[in-house]
Symmetry: D2
Subunit: 328 residues, 4 copies
């Protein structure tokens, strides 16, 4: 019994000052506000026809409360429950409406330590794709993926393979799988793994249509004298071919504005394997990765809202491998 997952659908981030988050995500980045609660904002991109792709909830410590996948049919909720219960993992049913716009859901603690939610139904939202008069900021079209930090990338790869994900790209050498990109929808990924102490959320990836929108995002942050919120890039990823920029929100949560990856829907889609020694894998233009990008990430909460203890990285850190082939 495996749930038929459609795609990475939404995330819930705990932020410490909702007004400040509203400024960053809505005023600066231009996310669309679908709904508000006293302690939460429900946001979406301009192409999205469903209620939200991001929940910002005020709390005392920055954290990631859940990552949600949409499933194809109502019956997939039961399949998800079974999948995790068979692995002796905690699951819980969430009735429709507990999260605004979301139908019945199953929430679980997954083998990697993340709180994952599965749902089938979501309320529709107004179609704004062609409201060019409203476009602002990064002009985010839709959520694209979750990138998570795990102490053992190969284990994460096996678990998501069990969940029916395809493998689009990897970073590896003979001994180690340093990173992997896996998909359900027909893009490069819905989830990717970065090696490190985990479980932590590395970043949320949001798709924009054109590369100039990535540049514009940076220009706006410079205009506001908040260029410090640009952590890495813009650049072109070797992996995925995407033009990217990584930002940090006011709580340090990392997000990526991401564009120009490729179609992966064919049944025999071949995996692209990058050598960890190819300096182009992380930046096709050879620019060095900022150290914080490898080191820092968002802590995740368990089903009770308690921060998950970190498990130490059990593999060679990618950041310690030089282009010359030696590990430092």
């Amino acid at each position: 019994m495996t749930p038929d997952i459609v795609r990475a659908a939404f995330a819930e981030l705990i932020v410490t000052d909702l007004d400040r988050s509203r400024w960053f995500w809505i005023d600066v980045l231009g996310f669309v506000l679908t709904a508000t609660e006293p302690d939460a904002l429900y946001l979406r991109g301009y192409d999205e026809l469903s209620h939200h792709c991001l929940i910002l909830r005020e709390g005392r410590q920055p954290a990631c409360a859940r990552l949600a996948f949409r499933v194809r049919e109502a019956g997939d909720l039961g399949a998800a429950e079974t999948f995790y219960q068979q692995r002796n993992l905690r699951t819980t049913r969430i009735p429709a409406g507990m999260t605004p716009g979301v139908g019945d859901a199953v929430r679980v603690e997954d083998p990697l330590g993340f709180t994952i939610e599965f749902f089938h139904e979501m309320a529709h939202a107004d179609r704004l794709q062609q409201r060019y008069d409203l476009r602002r900021g990064a002009e985010v079209a839709r959520i694209d993926h979750f990138n998570i930090v795990v102490p053992d990338v190969r284990s994460a790869y096996r678990y998501y393979t069990d969940l029916g994900f395809g493998l689009s790209e990897t970073i590896e050498d003979d001994a180690t799988l340093y990173a992997a990109w896996m998909y359900r929808k027909q893009t490069v990924h819905d989830v990717a793994f970065t090696g490190g102490d985990g479980p932590r959320l590395h970043h949320l990836g949001f798709f924009a249509h054109e590369e100039h929108q990535v540049m514009r995002t940076c220009d706006i942050l410079g205009s506001l004298r908040t260029e410090n919120l640009i952590e890495r890039g813009p650049g072109r990823h070797g992996v995925s071919n995407a033009m990217y920029v990584y930002l940090r929100d006011p709580d340090g949560h990392r997000l990526e504005i991401y564009t120009s990856d490729y179609y992966t829907g064919d049944p025999d889609h071949p995996t692209l394997r990058w050598s960890v020694h190819d300096p182009r894998r992380r930046d096709f233009w050879g620019n060095a990765v900022i150290p914080s990008w490898y080191r820092e990430a968002t802590q995740v909460l368990d089903l009770d809202g308690v921060p998950r203890p970190l498990i130490k990285d059990t593999q060679t850190a990618e950041s310690s491998v030089g282009a010359d082939g030696f590990t430092r």
Copy 2:
């Protein structure tokens, strides 16, 4: 028994001068040449990892010899055979290798009069997406869709619904379905219907990543004093939100360079219905459609390679409906 169709995969066009076609499709538009035969060229876009998305075969009269869909599993070939035989339509098995790079296939005459091929296996091609040094012309990434002319759009819609296609957008009024866009892969369409005398191929749609690539295509054609090959556009479609340009190849076959549509993979993806009286449906900027675009199209061949007789349009022509609501 319905075959599980993955996507619009390739088309075969009959051209009357292969050298001239090579000039247009390869030298000017920049398509990648995978293989040649004395009378045929096998082409693909820069993102494509499979053998070809277009076959150009020399013959005496311009025509469309077949449109091919890829299916998810080998067993879907039998399902396709059954689907058409149950409808008393001709089918034939094509052994692997008859078409270079293509495995076992089933070829049929469909209810609309088109020769359709189903195949599961295709040879892989070199990954060129990141060979920016080789990019030329329109920088086509991949085939996107087939647009066909049919005398009765509603019948075509019903048939493709039976084949498992979703409906992303329509042009309609109370009485008539003028056009419809239907998908298997997670984009706006794999196939679309234009009302008119049919069966004819209206155009092949090819995806490019960025809007400036659409403009560049036109600039190149102007540079070569072949601007007459630009039939319509560039413009923004209301339907699909795509930036487009329509070209005519040296034999008059129409193609579209197409970018910036949207994700349709959610299970309850809502249909967008455009009024035939909204002048923005065909061009979001209100530019008039060139008359030849409604009138001219490519004849199609049956399983024996004989041109299909045309069936007269049985519905009101969209081109005769004015924005003021009156039919002319």
Copy 3:
């Protein structure tokens, strides 16, 4: 005595409903408001460091009240006065401050029937080029040129040659000069002439930095269901190489969003002469010119604010010449 003209600097348009004009020029197109008067708005582009490039003044009939050139030195005002007085044309001195932000000026009725103003000093405006957070609409950088309708293009060419303008491009045949582009600043033009009944203002040209900004302008107008304000384009001009779109403001005044022309500052800059029979001259992609674009234009006012009578076109109309070389 010839005034040393720096560039086309600003225009004054009479509009019939200032609120509606404010909506179009500021809310939709994103022009920056420098100053207001009860009956007038003073606007500029994001790169402009001087007070305004456009005055919109409310009046009873749409018209162009003046076109203003900036001169290099204060003494050039006297030179301008002499230049026109020697040609027995009316001139008048305008004291500093009569137009907000503008120093002493000389206003004249020129040989073509236009009211032209020369000024040297203009108040500075805030530097907004790097306020990407404020950018909206067409993201106009600065005014670029005036395009005027004159009954005899060759006469207009001679007069502006006397004023020290260089000739960058023409449309011509053996017998007729159909159009000409002339410059003072180091771009393709500050002024251009279109043959027709004159004097009339054909359009004001505004420079944007990138081609996607031209497309975005159209997208916004489509979003607002005001796509009828897009008169022609977008397209690439053969002449000037500029990507363009022509809009009509709510009073019918025509403006162009214009980008990617070229440097003309070298002392021996060669003129590019287009044959009137080259279909690429007006649109490099071969798209036909909309008839209204040749026919309609804005009436101009004399020094007393009275509409100028029109002088009938004395030359073959460019719009009547076919690509096949015959005049129709």
Copy 4:
């Protein structure tokens, strides 16, 4: 007597392997080849209507042999001669044709230690701006500026002020002028000064029309596995507002692909003064400057072709000033 300088016109670089340079400048970057000599290549950009903007000459050591300014009239050559002779600096007359395509010239050793050439006449080259079919690589339109390393920026500023250059932007604090941008043509600069041991050539700046061309240049270098030739960027400069990338040619000569600066032709154009403590001055997105960018530069040759001895930097190095206001 001051020569009336039109613009930065061309540079001569000594390269050690002409075939390798041909690969980089022509095959990769797409410069247009106007003429060849056994030991030299004459290159230009796609918009340039004059013979060359860059000479690559084979020699034993990488160096900059000369920087050339075009002057407005033939008589300006004498003015240039006088200007330098009055300052007791070496000058020499170069007859027309000694440099292919270049008329009579005056070559001097300037007060900063650079070999500067003044010329008035240059042969025209074919107009290729609208040959989009030929465009490749960085699609460079034209040379834009020379950036030079000098030990005393304030002295360089005074000397170029004497030569009639305007000052568009600076980096400074109360005590020190760290860098300055000065212009003759109507752009941000024809020459800029970077503080450091000099005289050395910091880089040659080449203008491209659109920002995506800067990205494409990097993508091509990544494709060729020569991403190490990308030294810094892409990014947005605070100074000049230009999108930039800095490359190093196979001999280590630095060049910049540069776009989207602004018009400076108004008589009272105001100087923009950046604090050395504003982290956005060198990169508007806050990305750190690569150390080699401050340290490394090309040696220059005197009138006899002998390398100029370096004079030690006499001022605080900009690279040693932190954003926190302290000098390190």
